[in-house]
Amino acid sequence: MGLISWARKRSPWIAHFCTGSCNACDIEILACLTPRYDVERFGAILRGSIRHADILLVTGPVTRQVRDRLLRIYEQMPEPKYVVAVGTCAISGGVYRNSYNIYPGVDSVIPVTAYISGCPVKPENIINGLSFLLKKIGESK
C-alpha cells in the first residue's frame, strides 16, 4: 500500500448531496459530526465544495429536476472518486418507487461504489459503511 493510498484512507474528505429526500438521512449524516458519534476522529471532514472531496454521499430518490445537477457534480469531482448511496431511497427509490417524478435509485444515473441501507440510516451504520469503504480503498493500490 503506497503512501498516497495510505493518506487517502486516513483522511477522507466527504461531500454530501441531497437529491430530494425527506431529510432524515441527511440529519443522521450530520449527526455523525456531532460529539456523540464524532466521525472526525477517523479523519473524515464534511466539506461544502465538491472539488475538494474524495467521497460523495448521496441521499434521496433522484427527482427529475435534480438529475442534471447530480451528473454535473459527479463530473466535477476529481479522480479517484467514490460514490456512496445512503439510505433506501438512494438505492432503489424507497417509499417513492413508482412515482412519476423519480428515477429508481442513484445507480441509474451515476456509478455507485457502496450502498448503505436503512430508512433512515442510523449513524452507527454510516460509520460502519464508511469504514468498510475505507478498507477497500486502502486495499486497492
Partner: protein, 393 residues
C-alpha cells in the same frame, strides 16, 4: 443602477434540501426574490391514491424527516375522523408525549443550524449533543430515532412502562437545564444580537396578509397556535402557554423557539403525571365510511394541514397535504425584499432564510451575473458567510 440575478442553488453544508432562490440584487442589497421548489417534488399525493389508508402511513411519515411525528399524527387523526369510533384517551396522551418530544428535537436542531448560519459552531455542537438525549428517549419509547410511526390508525403502537416514564422525567430535567442556558446565551450574547436583531423584519400586517404560520407569525406578536385555537389529541386537557414576542425579526424567532422548548418540557411532565389508564389501541376495519375530513396540527414549523376525500373504499380518492414551509414562502419573500429604510444585505440571506426553519434546504452555490460586463463568478455559502462577518464586525 442595474439589477443582477443571483441564483442560490440547492446544497447547504449543514442541511441540504434542494431549493433555488433567485435573488435580484442592486449592489449589495437584495430587491427581489423568486423560488423554485421543483427539486423536492416527489409526487406523494398521487402515490397516496394508489395505496390503502393503512399502507399510506409510512409514506406520509417520510414527507419530512424532521417533523415526521407531526405528519404521522395528522394523518392518523384525519383518517380516524372517517370512522365513527372513539379513540382511547391513553392513546391521545401518549401521542401528545411523542409529539412534544419531536418538537423538542426539532427546535434543538434548528437552534444548532441557526447558530451555524451565523458562524457560531460551538453552539451547533452543544445543541446537537443535547439533542442526542432526546433521540435516545424517542428510540426507547418508539423503537426508532426518526420516522417512528408511533401514531397508528386506532391508537399508538406501544405502551410506556413506569420505568420508561421515570427515565423520561429525568431526561426532561436535563433538557430544561440546558434550555435555560441557551436562552441566557441567546439573550445576552452580543454576536447573536448583532446578527439577528433588525434582520428579517416581518410586520404583523404582512404576516397576516401572507398567511404565515408557526414561530414566524408568533414572533410578530400574533397569537396563532393550532394547539390552542383548534385543539386535537389531548391538547384541550394539557395546559400550556402560547409564546409570542414583539420584535418581528430573526431574534424574536430565536427567542420564541427557545421558550417553546420549556413549554414542551412542562407539557410532557403534566401528561406523564396525568396519564389515563386503559387500552392504548383499538382495531379499526379496513374500509372507512365515505366522507371528507380536514385535520390541522401544530408541527414544529407551523400549521400543518391534511385533507382527504373518501368514497367508502380502502384507498383514498384524494389526499391533500399542505406543509407549513409552503405557507411561509410568502413571508420569506417579504423578508428578503428591501423596501424604504429596511435594507437586506446579501450576507443576511442565509440567516433570514434559516429563520423560517425551512424543510427545504439548499446548497448555497451562489452565481453572480454582471449584466453589464458579461462576467460570471461563483461564491459558496461559506464565502458569503465570511464576507458578512467582516461587514458586521
Amino acid at each position: 443602477m442595474s439589477t443582477f440575478d443571483i441564483p442560490i442553488g440547492p446544497q447547504h453544508p449543514a442541511l441540504p434540501e434542494p431549493l433555488l432562490l433567485k435573488l435580484e440584487v442592486e449592489g449589495e442589497t437584495v430587491v427581489g426574490v423568486d423560488f423554485d421548489v421543483s427539486y423536492m417534488h416527489r409526487g406523494i399525493e398521487k402515490l397516496l391514491e394508489t395505496k390503502t389508508y393503512f399502507q399510506g402511513l409510512p409514506l406520509v411519515e417520510r414527507i419530512c424527516g424532521i417533523c415526521n411525528a407531526a405528519h404521522g399524527l395528522c394523518y392518523t387523526l384525519n383518517v380516524e375522523k372517517l370512522y365513527d369510533k372513539e379513540i382511547p384517551p391513553r392513546a391521545q396522551y401518549l401521542r401528545v408525549i411523542v409529539e412534544e418530544l419531536s418538537r423538542i428535537h426539532s427546535h434543538l436542531l434548528w437552534l444548532g443550524v441557526a447558530a451555524f448560519e451565523i458562524g457560531f459552531n460551538t453552539m451547533f455542537m452543544y445543541t446537537w449533543r443535547d439533542r442526542e438525549h432526546v433521540m435516545d428517549m424517542l428510540e426507547a419509547i418508539t423503537g426508532n430515532r426518526v420516522t417512528t410511526e408511533y401514531s397508528q390508525i386506532g391508537g399508538v403502537r406501544r405502551d410506556i412502562t413506569p420505568e420508561l416514564a421515570e427515565k423520561l422525567l429525568k431526561t426532561m430535567d436535563v433538557v430544561e437545564e440546558r434550555t435555560k442556558y441557551y436562552i441566557k446565551v441567546a439573550l445576552t450574547e452580543p454576536t447573536i444580537a448583532k446578527r439577528t436583531q433588525g434582520v428579517g423584519y416581518l410586520s404583523p400586517e404582512d404576516a397576516k396578509a401572507t398567511c404565515s404560520v408557526g414561530p414566524v407569525i408568533r414572533a410578530s406578536g400574533i397569537k396563532f397556535d393550532v394547539r390552542a385555537d383548534d385543539p386535537y389529541a389531548a391538547h384541550d386537557e394539557v395546559p400550556f402557554n402560547v409564546i409570542t414576542y414583539d420584535s418581528c425579526d430573526v431574534f424574536g424567532r430565536v427567542v420564541v423557539r427557545a421558550q417553546e422548548l420549556l413549554e414542551c418540557v412542562n407539557m410532557i411532565r403534566y401528561a406523564l403525571k396525568n396519564l389515563p389508564s386503559g387500552p392504548f389501541r383499538i382495531k379499526l376495519p379496513m374500509k372507512p365510511n365515505a366522507g371528507e375530513a380536514l385535520t390541522r396540527v401544530e408541527a414544529p414549523r407551523g400549521e400543518l394541514l391534511h385533507y382527504t376525500l373518501c368514497e367508502g373504499t380502502p384507498k383514498p380518492y384524494r389526499y391533500k397535504v399542505r406543509t407549513p414551509t409552503l405557507a411561509n414562502l410568502g413571508a420569506l419573500r417579504v423578508m428578503l425584499t428591501s423596501k424604504g429604510r429596511y435594507v437586506v444585505n446579501i450576507g443576511d440571506v442565509p440567516i433570514i432564510y434559516g429563520s423560517i426553519d425551512p424543510c427545504i434546504c439548499c446548497t448555497a452555490r451562489v452565481q453572480f451575473i454582471d449584466v453589464k460586463k458579461g462576467k460570471t463568478w461563483t461564491w459558496t455559502l461559506d464565502e458569503i458567510r465570511g464576507m458578512s462577518k467582516k461587514v458586521k464586525a
